[in-house]
Symmetry: C2
Subunit: 111 residues, 2 copies
DNA sequence: GTCTCATTCAACCATTTGGTTGACTCTTTG
DNA sequence: CAAAGAGTCAACCAAATGGTTGAATGAGAC
């Protein structure tokens, strides 16, 4: 469990990977399409996706020659439970979340 | 904001640092006392505390010759808000959290 | 069967990370 | 004032991270 949190939090610590998760929140995507908005190589994105998969944050399924990436929010649950222990966060503030997502743009996530 | 999440999640990705946060959940502690249960050097713990401070997860206050470490759950709020957007986590399950904390022991967190 | 597209692999590189040890700076105490 | 305690700094090291490029693999399309 401890190890799982290590890799989940480490996966979330990268802005490119968080941006990918936000994109997958909209819809499932092929690897090439995930890579398209970023300025880095496809191989780099492939590595990021491997990290997200290892963390259990996404699942990848190969259909034909394209590999589909799909959000799997289950891994976030453990992390969320851990965090909820620190301070009584009020019920989800969706307005704040949307404002946040706007600031979390892809352009800002290119290291 | 994005940068802030980077360092918050990165700080949480280390089991030693998460163990420290759990300890501080109980009570404020001096640096030396924080270090006591761990098998690593005081300097290493000092570095971990610097990371936690930079992330805004703790605050440190020097009184006399001892530096007190105090949990500051505010930084977790941004991270929590971000995560809540992925999947509708049910209301805080405190039982699960307590079970989790039991498994998150210090002995497991020594790399 | 060959070309092309989607993706990964392998080797490499620079930077960051997590740890060590020993010297150093304050602050308190005797 | 001198000694001891609390904590950080500096230099160093090994391993992990995030990126690159070029070759390789595998599946469709023509």
């Amino acid at each position: 469990m401890t190890q799982r949190l290590d890799i989940v939090f480490a996966a979330l610590a990268d802005p490119t990977r968080r941006a990918i998760l936000s994109m997958l929140l909209e819809d499932d995507m092929a690897v090439t399409d995930v890579a398209e908005p970023f300025e880095m190589s496809l191989a780099a994105i492939s590595k990021h996706l491997a990290v997200l998969t290892k963390a259990g944050l996404i699942v990848q399924e190969k259909r034909g020659r394209v590999k589909w990436c799909k959000l799997d929010p289950q891994a976030l649950r453990a992390a969320s439970i851990w965090m909820q222990g620190f301070g009584q966060f009020e019920a989800v503030n969706l307005d704040a979340f949307e404002r946040f997502l706007e600031s979390e743009t892809i352009s800002q996530s290119t290291n």
